[in-house]
């Protein structure tokens, strides 16, 4: 699918079983940390990432896949827009309990 | 496709009449309503049992003239969320007094099985792998809060019927 992109892109989704925010990594796996995200700089790259993400959706692992603008923070990938930055961190009004508190994968009963 | 029978009616065995084909003599055919309204008596004489295929936006009033000619009705859902199909079945039973088979086609989902039944549908055409889920869904609830037009009386009534019967005995 030909598409026009304005800049680097990354993919965010939610994990099906617990809804947790996850970012697509280059190997097709997912991370809770935006910094681990794969970033695509061109259209072909985005298509490839999207295909990887779609495979996870088809496997019922994630849902709500979004291709989003990526920027950098501390030299690492980060969502460019506020809404998705909010996803990376958790609610700004509860810094005590968003993902910024424990960004690593939590053991859940998956 | 599998036909799931909700009410135990004698389900019709018919085929969809292709556009600009005439029915074979005595054949059971389902015909889009838009075409049926233009057909004269001859059409109904030649064909066997005739049914109308309705889109969910059909106005039930348009069906009134056809009522004594139709053996069955097919309501074709374009999407399972198109709730007009339920009102249409209600109208057929309630306002038009239709007694024949009402069939649902289209992407309805198993979780709607009881709603379909209670709105007045008899049968549903479903993907083979969904037939079991449909049948299971029919058994999920056995009492209901609403009186409907298929003979189910609401719990609001049923609760007191039980009291009355106890009083009587």
């Amino acid at each position: 699918m030909a598409r026009k992109i304005k800049g680097p892109q990354m993919i965010v989704a939610n994990r099906l079983l617990d809804g947790r925010v996850v970012f697509l990594k280059a190997d097709g796996g997912w991370s809770a940390v935006a910094a681990d995200a794969a970033v695509a700089a061109d259209e072909a790259g985005v298509d490839a990432l999207e295909a990887l993400a779609q495979k996870s959706a088809d496997d019922n692992f994630v849902l709500s896949i979004e291709v989003i603008d990526a920027t950098e923070r501390d030299g690492k990938p980060y969502p460019a827009h506020m809404k998705f930055a909010m996803q990376a961190l958790g609610p700004s009004v509860r810094p005590d309990l968003g993902y910024q508190v424990s960004p690593a994968w939590e053991q859940t009963d998956l | 496709m599998t036909l799931v029978n909700l009410t135990g009616i004698q389900a019709g065995d018919f085929s969809l009449l292709a556009d600009d084909h005439s029915p074979e003599e005595g054949a059971a055919v389902a015909v889009p309503l838009s075409r049926l309204t233009d057909e004269g008596d001859d059409f109904f004489k030649v064909a066997g049992p005739v049914g109308a295929v309705l889109t969910t936006d059909t106005n039930h009033a348009d069906l009134a003239p056809l009522m004594n000619k139709l053996a069955f009705v097919v309501v074709d859902f374009p999407a399972f969320g198109d709730g007009r199909g339920f009102s249409l079945a209600v109208r057929l039973r309630k306002d038009l007094g239709f007694k024949g088979e009402i069939r649902a086609t289209g992407p309805v989902i198993p979780d709607q099985a009881l709603f379909l039944l209670r709105a007045g549908f008899d049968t549903v055409e479903v993907a083979d792998e969904r037939a079991e889920a449909f049948k299971a869904a029919l058994k999920r609830f056995d009492s209901f809060y609403q009186t409907d037009y298929t003979g189910q009386v609401s719990l609001a009534h049923a609760r007191h019927k039980a009291t009355e019967e106890r009083k009587a005995s």
Partner: protein
């Protein structure tokens, strides 16, 4: 309070099992997300920015101590220790796991609660006056009717896939605390000249991008005809409501397109055909349900309680709380207490599990085990003896719940906004927090008097900004959060739509603008005149000048 019988229990339990099965089928891939979504929504389960969100109904805002303790338990065990009470008399949990929601629903079913039809294109949780059955200004307790509607609308075979969500509100009081004119159907309990109970029926109210105030289509509907008449309204809507554009799918658009008179005519025509069918509840059923809402056996007591007066004299905060957070009960010597969930700097509507437990304990001790939730996102202890107020306030105050701001400027309604909501343009909660800090002076608040600020993070209007005396709407301005200021709305019996005052502001700008608006009011008001009355009298121009000219 209503108590389930074996049928009600069987239905909610069957519903939990149905949902468990649906979740299993979704996880196994037998249901696509597209198919599963409406099913989970009809069980109150959304996907939000950070996680799923579960919206649990508190039918018509009434619950008991045991149920509140269960809500606390769920917050602790399945969530992150808190819940958010909403404008629709629901509670939302922000972090449940899909895999655990069937268990949560089972825990709720165990205490006669559910999340049925708290979302989706179906008839939603019926809302009502938080003081129903307890207030002095009431024709009749609307809750038996709300319960009858709850049952009738639950798993309705014909109306579970409507063009759009459908919200019904009912009040029995002269003062409309349920915003009935902003609902798809509003019902006002009335008595006719013969002393019989019936309803004024309004249709077509709603917020969103096209705010509309509902119109009356029937002045007096006899009590016994309630459900058949609702069925007629719903059938007209289900058949003719638009399904091609979700922003035009609400009943308000259909009522506008047909005209209220035509909507009334079609409803009447359909109703005549069905009104003699056994759709309506029989009288015995109405009596059965009303019996559950019989007034509690309160002793008539004196309204003069010296201990209360003394504490009020000594303690300004208690005096303010007494004035703002209590409402006269119909039995002398009693009041209904509003527990404000709007601490200055806090998150409007949020309560921790510990706070819920405390409130449950207070309910058991002081309010006949009964609690309410208001559409203004506060909790209510009804039927409280005035003499118990000092003890109650002391307990509440220790837990951070004694804030004396009910009905005042900082009693702000705010939707979750961009902090949680995937549809948001801007954050709402931080504005409420900023306003709480800016106006953190109860003497000043008391002087400003009744003023309702309502904040939504996008045009969907979950925060009722259209009905705010001061409304704030979050918009996206080139990727930045921006806020529009609206003035003059009302959600009460004198319902009105707030109007945009002028260009939007950033986060700091909007707080300054509110302060300027308040200053204009203080300068313009006449003796005893409340904000809304002043605005209506002087019009927007003075406010506009004050807010924009000095920029």
């Amino acid at each position: 309070m209503y108590a389930y019988d074996k049928y009600d229990h069987a239905l909610v339990n069957a519903r939990v099992e149905e949902f468990r099965d649906q979740v299993n089928r979704r996880v196994k891939g037998e249901l696509t997300e597209e198919e599963f979504r409406p099913l989970r929504l009809m069980n109150g389960l959304y996907l939000q920015l950070h996680a799923y969100m579960l919206r649990v109904a508190v039918p018509y805002g009434t619950l008991n101590g045991t149920q509140m303790r269960k809500l606390a338990h769920i917050a602790r065990k399945y969530d992150k220790g808190y819940g958010h009470f909403t404008t629709r008399q629901n509670i939302q949990y922000n972090w449940p796991k899909l895999s655990e929601t069937p268990d949560i629903l089972q825990e709720l079913a165990d205490v006669e609660m559910h999340a049925i039809q708290t979302s989706g294109n179906c008839i939603r949780n019926v809302t009502t006056d938080q003081f129903a059955g307890a207030t002095a200004d009431e024709v009749a307790d609307p809750r038996p009717y709300a319960e009858l509607i709850r049952q009738w609308s639950t798993f309705h075979p014909e109306f579970s896939f409507l063009p759009r969500k459908f919200k019904i509100a009912i009040t029995g009081a002269d003062i409309d605390r349920a915003a009935v004119k902003w609902h798809d159907i509003g019902l006002v309990v009335k008595k006719n000249d013969a002393g019989e109970i019936g309803f004024e029926v309004l249709v077509g109210g709603g917020m969103g991008r096209t705010p509309v105030i509902a119109k009356t289509i029937r002045d007096f509907l006899p009590e016994k005809d309630l459900l058949s008449y609702l069925e007629a309204i719903l059938r007209v809507y289900n058949e003719q409501g638009r399904r091609d554009n979700k922003y035009k799918a609400r009943i308000k658009i259909l009522v506008d397109a047909l005209g209220a008179d035509e909507y009334a005519r079609q409803t009447e025509e359909e109703w005549q055909k069905i009104k003699d069918q056994p759709i309506d509840f029989p009288a015995e059923e109405a009596a059965r349900i009303k019996a559950y809402f019989a007034p509690p056996p309160l002793q008539v007591l004196s309204d003069d309680v010296p201990a209360v007066d003394e504490l009020a004299k000594k303690n300004f905060l208690f005096a303010a709380w007494l004035q703002n957070n209590t409402n006269q009960h119909k039995v002398p010597g009693h009041v209904n207490v509003t527990i404000s969930l709007k601490p200055h700097g806090g998150i409007p509507g949020d309560a921790t599990a510990e706070q819920m437990d405390l409130v449950a304990a207070l309910a058991d001790e002081y309010s006949q085990g009964e609690l309410r939730i208001s559409h203004e996102q506060n909790l209510i202890l009804p039927h409280v003896a005035k003499k118990d107020l000092p003890a109650i306030w002391t307990d509440l105050d220790e837990a951070g719940l004694g804030i004396p701001n009910a009905g005042l400027l900082t009693d702000i309604i705010a939707c979750p906004g961009l902090d949680y909501c995937s549809l948001a343009n801007a954050r709402s909660i931080p504005l409420a927090q900023q306003l709480g800090k800016r106006f953190d002076d109860f003497k000043r608040l008391q002087d400003i008097g009744p003023l309702k600020i309502k904040i939504s993070g996008c045009i969907n209007s979950c925060g009722h900004h259209h009905a705010g005396h001061i409304g704030i709407l979050g918009v996206d301005r080139k990727g930045e959060e921006n806020y529009q200021l609206l003035l003059g709305g009302s959600g009460a019996e004198d319902a009105s739509k707030a109007a945009i005052l002028g260009p939007g502001f950033d986060e700091n700008g909007i707080i300054d603008a509110v302060e300027k608006v308040v200053a204009v009011y203080l300068g313009e008001r006449e003796e005893g005149e409340e904000f809304l009355a002043t605005y209506r009298r002087v019009g927007p121009q003075v406010f506009k000048e004050a807010v924009y000219d000095a920029r």
